[in-house]
């Protein structure tokens, strides 16, 4: 889907690579603390093994014990430490990527002076206080050039605000009291005018604070899928612990009954364990989770929890607002359909005149279309000496009076009434045209000069380019798209058909939306939606993934579990992608981790038991240099593969929308078969390297 911005950011990430690695090191060491490590049972067990082997190596060196050579034990211990350290390093690196962003935000949170008002009006007395002293419910005055001291709702005034610090969007936005554009975010700057703001968040609990906490991973909790995966990994770790531990008695029995060879050494046992335990996925699991949230942040979406990010991958019904998501924001004039006896040019000219002073997007599009189709140049209304008749709720028409002409445009009913009042009649053909246009999903606008009907202007909802293809992609992934619109069912059906959505909800009310979400959920679907208005809040609260627009009301933001800082309704598609990628990365690495084990058995078992039963050397498919190099090569591969997969854990596995069966096939091929085969050449290579270094 929308991969372009991600890629550019990725390159910036690479440039900052070496610095980020250096920054991640202290964190990696801090994470070795067993109290933190125990959260990951796999890596905790490996750490315990590393400590034990280190102690054993020291005892061997001091001559207190006998057995495997001290150097060999130390080498395996080093391998275990490397495995643990690489895992904590990956987590630390993932956290570090978010930290730069968090720091930038924290600098905005610096103390700003605030003008606290004694009451909820501009006229009230002000006092200068630091922003940290503000509490929820306080009123402040913000004037042009001021920084908004905290999150809040505008209770009075209109102003343009620079929100680039939060959204990265440089164009200023309008904030005003009432309606759906009444929220301001702390840290943004007023460019003009003034606002009276009621503060809604106590210090430390603001939007910015939540965002910083989330990016830094401070508030990260394990998601349900992570917990289930942890159980799987812990269970396997336990089995491998038993498998390796019982090998000691087994090999004692074998040496006694074969009368030759040595029981398996502790270092080889530890090596076998670390190779079998799912360290690859166990080590990278936290990094994958943090990177998932980070990818959301990079897409300018703030999720309130990792759980929400994960749920995004599961969503199978998307409720999309028609306007802005499926169609361009506004209707546009698409055709002039003249009445009998009127030329198209005549109609275009009249319609253009009637729209010259009409500042609505529809009006402007009529002027533009007339200019394009009929080379009519719109002139300034003042120079024509015309009088503009604005749209009112009573007449439901607008138009212009000049040179004795009185041109009106408006909805069919309004014009019919207008014409009949003047003693005229709208001809049947125009009525038929109106109906045809409406059936096609467009809005007919009738133009009349006094009682003479000139024709119909077709105002069309323009479906965004490429959106049909996107919906087809979503459908192939099993995601239904539902268009939500306030239009009548006829118009809605036509647009739905053109855009290729699976279903639509016409004449949508907040109650209808809520009912629809509940209906889908009761059928076992997970529903995602976007919303910005206060009346969206109940539906947002009900949806499984609810993305509130940052431009929306505070109520909407509170009800949702994600906030899109760009306020872009199409972002939902991107969110689904990030969610799916997160789950896929986990699954792929688990498969890879387990598939790896088979190869390691073929390396370690002949090395461990070749002395007892020489015939087991036949299992040594790789013809490795010696038992020592074989074991060390396996341990080294096991540790290095974690480092090798860090970029993948950060970026997520590559993904394009397609049916589940196809996804499984390709991922199974890459990560399953790849995981089965990759260790063989790699271990052979490391073995050759160790042998060339003179390892016995």
């Amino acid at each position: 889907m929308n991969a372009a911005p991600d890629r550019s950011r990725g390159q910036a990430g690479v440039r900052a690579g070496s610095a980020a690695i250096a920054a991640a090191l202290p964190g990696a060491l801090r994470k070795l603390d067993p109290r933190r490590m125990i959260r990951s049972p796999v890596m905790f067990t490996v750490e315990v093994g590393a400590v034990a082997l280190t102690a054993l190596a020291i005892l061997h060196t001091s001559g207190a014990t006998e057995g495997e050579s001290a150097a060999f034990v130390a080498a395996v211990a080093a391998g275990l430490w490397a495995t643990v350290l690489f895992a904590t390093f990956a987590e630390s690196l993932a956290e570090g990527r978010g930290r730069a962003q968090a720091d930038a935000m924290r600098s905005m949170r610096r103390d700003t002076p605030a003008k606290r008002l004694a009451g909820a009006s501009r006229a009230a007395a002000t006092e200068e206080v630091p922003s940290t002293a503000l509490r929820g419910g306080d009123h402040v005055l913000v004037e042009a050039g001021d920084v908004v001291p905290g999150d809040g709702e505008v209770v009075d005034g209109v102003a343009s605000v620079d929100e680039s610090a939060i959204t990265g969007e440089s164009a200023p936005v309008i904030r005003e009291s009432g309606g759906d554009r009444n929220t301001v975010t702390g840290g943004t700057r007023l460019l003009s005018d003034w606002l009276v703001v009621r503060i809604t968040a106590d210090p430390g609990a603001s939007f910015l604070d939540r965002m910083i906490g989330l990016i830094e991973g401070a508030k990260r909790q394990k998601t349900p899928n992570e917990i289930a995966l942890d159980i799987l990994l812990a269970g396997l770790t336990l089995v491998f612990l038993v498998v390796t531990a019982t090998l000691l008695p087994f090999s004692i029995h074998a040496t006694t009954s074969a009368g030759r060879g040595e029981p398996i050494g502790l270092a080889v046992l530890a090596a076998l364990f670390v190779c079998l335990a799912p360290t690859t996925i166990g080590g990278l699991l936290p990094a994958i989770g943090i990177a998932g949230i980070d990818r959301m942040v990079r897409a300018n979406v703030l999720a309130t929890s990792g759980r929400a990010v994960e749920a995004a991958g599961d969503v199978d019904v998307l409720l999309l607002d028609k306007t802005g998501t499926i169609t361009l924001g506004n209707r546009q004039a698409a055709a002039f359909l003249p009445a009998p006896g009127v030329t198209e040019g005549e109609l275009a000219e009249a319609a253009q005149l009637a729209s010259l002073a009409d500042e609505t997007p529809e009006g402007r599009s009529i002027v533009v279309l007339a200019k394009e189709r009929h080379a009519l140049r719109g002139s300034e209304i003042e120079t024509l000496g015309a009088t503009f008749v604005p749209f009112t709720a009573q007449t439901r028409m607008s138009g212009v009076d000049l040179d004795g002409r009185s041109i009106r445009k408006g909805a069919r009913d309004a014009i019919v009434k207008h014409v009949e009042r003047l003693g005229g009649r709208v001809d049947d053909e125009t009525i038929a045209t109106c109906e045809t246009v409406a059936r096609g999903g467009s809005t007919p606008l009738v133009v009349a000069d006094r009682a003479r009907v000139l024709g119909v202007v077709e105002l069309k909802d323009v479906v965004k380019g490429g959106i049909t293809e996107r919906f087809a992609e979503l459908r192939s992934m099993g995601i239904r798209t539902v268009m939500i619109t306030g239009d009548n069912p006829l118009t809605a059906a036509a647009i739905a058909a053109e855009a290729g959505v699976d279903d639509f909800l016409a004449e949508a009310t907040p109650e209808a939306k809520l009912a629809m979400i509940r209906r889908y959920q009761s059928e076992g679907h997970l529903v995602a939606m976007t919303g910005d208005g206060t009346n969206d809040a109940p539906a947002l609260a009900q949806a499984d993934v609810a993305v509130a627009m940052n431009s929306g009301t505070q109520a909407a933001k509170e009800a949702g579990n994600m906030v899109d800082l760009d306020s872009d309704p199409t972002k939902l598609l991107e969110i689904v992608r990030v969610g799916k990628q997160l789950l896929m990365t986990r699954g792929s690495l688990t498969t890879f981790s387990l598939a790896n084990d088979i190869a390691k058995y073929f390396v370690i078992l002949p090395a461990a038991f070749g002395g007892i039963y020489p015939q087991l050397a036949r299992l040594d498919l790789l013809r490795l240099h010696s038992p020592t190099t074989a074991v060390l090569a396996a341990v080294a591969f096991n540790a290095l593969v974690i480092v090798g997969l860090v970029p993948m854990a950060m970026k997520g596995v590559s993904y394009r929308p397609r049916p589940a069966a196809d996804l499984l096939r390709s991922n199974l091929l890459v990560w399953g078969l790849g995981g089965l085969l990759l260790p063989f050449p790699c271990i052979k290579l490391i073995d050759l390297l160790l042998a060339s270094m003179g390892v016995p």
Binding site: V239, V243, F250, M477, H525, T590, L619, L668
Partner: protein, 566 residues
């Protein structure tokens, strides 16, 4: 050679035919809230009402999962006490023509646990230890109840997918009665009749020496209920139990029939037959390649014998590795019996497993070690394979970017925990038990053979016990107290963990509401998932047992030239 393969194919086809014939009846037994239909159904319903009514359990009400699991545990415990009483009081009880005394404590406990847990490990010789009374009213009762409890477990797991948002998972007593009386009993009667027709002994007269006794009926339920305990020490190799090659083939077919039928019935229960077929295909994929290896290894000449000894196949003689096999069945059919009895948790034998070629022994041990899910025990086999399917679907589901779900039910932490416990307790028990036996000289000495083969004997005993199979590498002398009690503990641990966890798993799934299916849902009936399910079973089995197998059958097989030596 070719004849052996044809025999094998024909026997498997017979199993499939019997299975397909059972499916509709088995399908009708699960929905206990609906009365059974048809004449047969009305009769069965009346029997059910009487039996449950007599026990004060009618009308049957739905039990919560914990209550259901507890009921099963209690049923095991009651069986334990009653059967132990029968064996210890044998000298005082009637129908004891040989005047056999009470069974010694160690053997008694081992035998009781063994028959209560559907294992049928026999550390005694039937004809010289047990009276006909003990056999018929002691062991055979358990041979019905123990597999019925396995089938009840499968019913609960199936209800996990059939029910939605349900706090209950059916009535344990009703399920056990249905399984024992309406499913196992008629099948056992049918097989008994067929065996008698082939010439198997079935007498009520005094039993002295190998003259008779209720052999056919005992053998029939032992095979139909994947019990495996033989009337005689020689089990199904005894000519009074299995007189003809056809009797041998019938026994194999009936061992496999119910587990095969269960797969297909599962598909019907969840109203998606493709899913049942997929599970059956996964089973076939797990069963057929090792079977081929086993048959190849056993029909090949034994290379330990000096050159010049004719071991080839001709019109009158079945060649191959004949040690420990009955000449009247031949090596091919014997190999199929070995595979069927180890893949299903039956554990009956018509050939001595200790005498199998190293690769043959490897296959037998492999089937058992996989946790008795390749066809597996009646009921428990399918339930266990479903637990494996949850494991496979968990990883596969993540790989397609969705929270994992199987047949519409989402797999979360609790399901994962229960599935892992059910699947991992048996291998862990096997390995720990073998480890203890390997380092305790008194226990290790029970294995008469040196080197890898001796180790195989130890490993086989604990694998067979912990997975409730019951067959043995018969060289092992497992009559000492540490062996009888050690194996009894392994049998109990394996059985309890499996049954309790699987019932709770079914309950946990039954409480969930189904997730809608779309093209984003991982299809679990296609070849890819079948491959993954089989792969998960093999991977877990290989990862847990490869080192142990390397020190046992693999070391033995790799000794000298590859192939049928011992």
């Amino acid at each position: 050679m070719t004849r052996a393969w044809i025999e094998i194919a024909a026997t498997l086809a017979m199993a499939l035919v019997v299975a397909v014939a059972i499916v509709p009846w088995l399908t009708a037994l699960l929905p206990t809230e609906r009365p059974l239909h048809g004449l047969l159904g009305r009769v069965a319903g009346a029997i059910e009402r009487r039996l449950l009514g007599a026990a004060g359990a009618w009308p049957a009400r739905g039990m919560r999962p914990g209550e259901y699991a507890a009921s099963l545990v209690v049923l095991h415990a009651v069986g334990f006490v009653v059967l132990l009483g029968v064996l210890r009081l044998q000298g005082l009880l009637p129908w004891n023509p040989q005047g056999l005394p009470a069974v010694p404590w160690g053997i008694a406990v081992n035998t009781v646990v063994s028959f209560v847990t559907n294992t049928n490990w026999q550390s005694y010789a039937g004809e010289t230890t047990l009276s006909p009374f003990s056999q018929v009213f002691g062991l055979t009762v358990q041979n019905f109840i123990a597999p019925a409890m396995g089938i009840a477990t499968m019913f609960v797991v199936a209800r996990g997918f059939v029910l939605s948002g349900s706090g209950t998972v059916g009535n344990c007593w009703q399920d056990v009665v249905r399984a024992a009386v309406m499913l196992l009993l008629p099948l056992a009667v049918l097989l008994s009749a067929l065996l008698v027709r082939e010439g198997a002994a079935q007498t009520l007269g005094a039993l002295s020496g190998p003259a008779g006794g209720p052999v056919a009926s005992q053998t029939a339920i032992a095979l139909v209920g994947s019990n495996g305990g033989g009337y005689f020490n020689a089990n199904s190799a005894h000519p009074l139990a299995t007189p003809t090659p056809l009797a041998n083939a019938l026994q194999i077919a009936f061992m496999l029939a119910l587990p095969i039928a269960a797969c297909l019935a599962f598909g019907r229960w969840i109203a998606d037959r493709r899913q049942g077929r997929a599970i059956l295909l996964a089973n076939a994929l797990l069963f057929l390649p090792p079977l081929a290896l086993l048959v190849t290894a056993e029909t090949a000449p034994n290379r330990a014998l000096p050159a010049g000894i004719a071991q080839g196949h001709d019109a009158d003689h079945d060649g191959g590795s004949l040690e420990g096999k009955e000449a009247r069945f031949g090596t091919g059919a014997s190999a199929l019996f070995v595979a069927a009895a180890t893949a299903t948790s039956t554990g009956a034998v018509d050939a001595m497993h200790d005498s199998l070629s190293p690769l043959g022994g490897f296959v037998a041990l492999w089937f058992i070690s996989l946790g008795e899910v390749v066809f597996g025990g009646v009921g428990t086999g399918l339930a266990g394979l479903v637990a494996y399917a949850l494991l496979a679907v968990f990883v596969a589901g993540l790989m397609v970017g969705r929270s994992p779900e199987y047949l519409g039910k989402r797999i979360e932490a609790r399901e994962m925990k229960l599935a892992m416990l059910a699947l991992l307790v048996p291998p862990v028990t096997t390995l720990l038990g073998t480890a203890v036996a390997a380092v305790r000289p008194a226990m290790a000495a029970a294995a008469p053979n040196p080197g890898p083969h001796g180790f195989s004997e130890l490993l086989y005993a604990f694998a067979s016990a912990a997975n409730n199979n019951g067959s043995a590498f018969a060289g092992l002398d497992a009559a000492s107290l540490s062996w009888t009690l050690g194996l009894a503990a392994a049998m109990a641990a394996g059985r309890m963990a499996t049954i309790v966890c699987l019932v709770l798993l079914g309950g946990s799934l039954a409480a969930k509401r189904p997730v809608a299916v779309s093209s984003g849902t991982l299809p679990t009936h296609g070849p890819l998932f079948i491959l993954m399910l089989a792969g998960a079973v093999v991977l877990v089995g290989a990862l847990a047992f490869l080192p142990a197998l390397a020190l046992g059958p693999l070391a033995e097989a790799l000794e000298g030239p590859l192939g049928g030596t011992r």
